[in-house]
Amino acid sequence: MPSRPRSVTDVARARFLERLAQWMYIAPAATYLLLFFGYPLVKNLVMSFQQYTITTFYTGAAPFVGMENYSKILSSDLFPKALLTTFLFTAGSVIGQFALGLAFALFFQRRFPLGGLLRSLLLLPWLLPLVVSGTTWRWLLDPDTGVANAALRGLHLTSSGVPWLTGTSQALVSVILVNIWVGIPFNTAILYGGLQDIPAHLYEAAKLDGAGSLASFRHVTWPLLRPAVSVVLVLGAVYTVKVLDIILVVTGGGPAGATETLATQSYELSFRQFEFGRGAAMSNVLIVLSLAFAVVHLRASRRAQNV
């Protein structure tokens, strides 16, 4: 029997089924994203235009107030201070984490006894719950009884001790230091991975050309590490700008609001003062900031691909 030519409808049917299958593959991920990312995001956006208080939770009534929440938080005299603190905290943390992370990555690239073990131990800060490490740091930095000041006094570097957590300018430095410590494993891991990808023969070639270690870092390591560097910096900035737990545990935003960032402000508004509308507005400002970093990252990576 001669095979029947495929009709137009059959082709359309097959194409439709193929489409359907494609969508079925996407569906679980899309559902997940919509439910757990899309919904909260939209909800938060809507909330920021509402007068959303404790009562709303029970009655569901949240009157629309337009831009009032935004104008209230942006005109508050706490906002510029918190914005500056957020900037200093993010910049300080990211630079510190990156510099130390890169140093560790370069160090562990060399082969030496126990190198692998030490490298895995370096991941420890990552494995500890942030509340645990925050509490431990609070003890270490305690101005009266902490190890940090005991060491400084023992070395006769200071007689009275540094007010790590109680001085308005020192407290910000302290939370930055703690956050750097928390971020080192992430930076080291990614940068170490990036270093492994650089072919060894390039270093040999550089050596033959008479390049010292500094020159080979500048002309081989750094250019080839660029993609990893941009990932680390952008993700680092996005993670850091929203850090809440470390600050809450170590200083609670104090002393006198010296470590109050946009993230802690948002928490404070929502969960201490129960001004959920304003808390949502504040966190949206934070989301816009993170988004700006993400856009920079996407652009940079596209440029890197084109090169």
Binding site: Y58, G254, A256, G257, R272
Partner: protein, 417 residues
């Protein structure tokens, strides 16, 4: 009848949460009975509190069970940490899964009552006469009583008897005596005095007795009287009699400092007494909070948790919960509870009987009588004033602002919207 929460998305989310909660409840405790409609016989009710620490948790568990037995229901107690209670309650309010019996810290009652999630207690024929005025006003919202507390507490001055004896210092009764005693008691590695001055509501609570005893008001924070009270704390830190770390300490930290012998005196509450008694080498005493001038009586803030009956579709469950609540507030229960927790029964007649039976608590019984609830003046606006107060404490103790400047800002925070 309560109108269901807003949009359909809300309802979906609420149902999801409820479903998850149900699954958790079903797997968690196999004996859980069904939702119990109005017609079926209620055999068990749920209760939520923040008594997570032992022995408090099991003591309360026993009391709730005992009261449940007298009214013929099983009480399933759940406890969450203090800081998570309100978020938990809000979550439950929106998913309509509030417990049958809910405990709230007394300054939070009015805010929760304002939402409509609680039922007034007169509906169940609960008699609120005979309760001390302070706690009754904290449990009242718009003229109706929503919550009753079996016992109340307040803060006082705890001191280390050995350290005072060794330094030859008498227990301070006035502010000047407090400053002198604190300076006298300070040694290397030890401070004379400790308070909680951290950036939370806890420090506002500790500061209130100083503010109120000096004639300051939470309604008007930018007054010389309020500034004098704040100046006292500033002086203690400036003279080195109080660690600057008070800026970070919670009440629990203050307690730890005291137990470790790193401070000779502290402000704290009687709920610390069981822990203090555990250390046999620690000889401590308790006295009223020092007042500005001799002969004045300290005005202290009222602490204590009120029990409430949230809205629920089942009248039968609410009735049972109300019966358990009434049982908790019986004179005999409150007397037993107060003895267990070193607090003061909230019915005035029971309190005076208690003072005779437990002489060591007489100081607290006396100060609780004059104690004021934090929401008496400002009601649901109290959290704003409290935010202003703790911000001012932080600014003044760090030296960022003078007490006067700090309190001017506090007043702006308190009245701002």
């Amino acid at each position: 009848m309560i109108s269901p929460a807003g949009s359909s998305a809300w309802r979906t989310a609420a149902r999801l949460t409820a479903a998850i909660a149900l699954v958790v409840a079903a797997t968690g405790c196999g004996g859980a009975t069904g939702a119990g409609s109005a017609t079926s016989k209620v055999t068990s009710i749920t209760a939520l509190d923040y008594y997570t620490d032992e022995p408090e948790h099991s003591q309360w568990g026993e009391t709730l069970s005992a009261c449940g037995r007298t009214v013929g229901v099983k009480v399933e107690q759940a406890s969450v940490p203090g800081a998570s209670l309100i978020p938990k309650v809000l979550q439950q309010a929106s998913s309509r899964t509030l417990p049958d019996l809910l405990m709230l810290d007394n300054p939070d009652l009015q805010q929760i009552a304002q939402t409509g999630a609680l039922t007034p207690l007169d509906r169940y024929g609960i008699d609120s006469r005979g309760f001390a005025q302070g706690i009754l006003s904290a449990g009242t919202y718009e003229g109706k009583v929503y919550g009753l507390a079996p016992y109340v507490s307040t803060v006082a001055l705890f001191y280390n008897k050995d350290m005072l004896a060794e330094a030859g210092v008498a227990v301070p009764g006035t502010w000047d005596e407090l400053k002198a005693a604190a300076a006298e008691l300070t040694r290397p590695g030890r401070y004379g005095m400790a308070v909680d001055a951290n950036p939370t509501f806890e420090s506002a609570w500790q500061f209130l007795p100083f503010l109120w005893s000096n004639g300051g008001e939470e309604r008007q924070l930018d007054t010389p009287r309020a500034a004098q009270a704040l100046q006292l704390w500033v002086d203690l830190v400036k003279r080195g009699s109080m660690s600057k770390s008070v800026l970070n300490w919670t009440q629990a930290d203050v307690h730890d400092q005291f137990v470790a012998g790193r401070t000779a005196m502290m402000i704290n509450g009687p709920w610390r007494i069981p822990a203090l008694n555990k250390d046999k080498n620690l000889h401590w005493g308790v006295a009223p909070i020092p007042v500005p001038q001799t002969g004045q009586t300290p005005v202290t803030p009222l602490g204590g948790e009120v029990w409430t009956v949230p809205q629920s579709p089942s009248t039968a469950r609410r009735e049972k919960a109300a019966q358990v609540l009434a049982c908790l507030n019986e004179p005999s229960s409150m007397l037993a509870l107060a003895k267990q927790h070193f607090t003061v029964p909230s019915r005035s007649t029971v309190a005076s009987r208690y003072a005779e039976q437990v002489p060591s608590m007489a100081a607290f019984v006396k100060s609780v009588q004059a104690a004021r609830s934090r929401t008496r003046e400002l009601g649901v606006k109290w959290p704003k004033a409290a935010t202003g107060i703790y911000t001012a404490i932080q600014s003044a103790l760090t030296g960022e602002q003078t007490p006067e400047e700090a309190l001017r800002h506090a007043q702006q925070t308190a009245i701002g919207d």
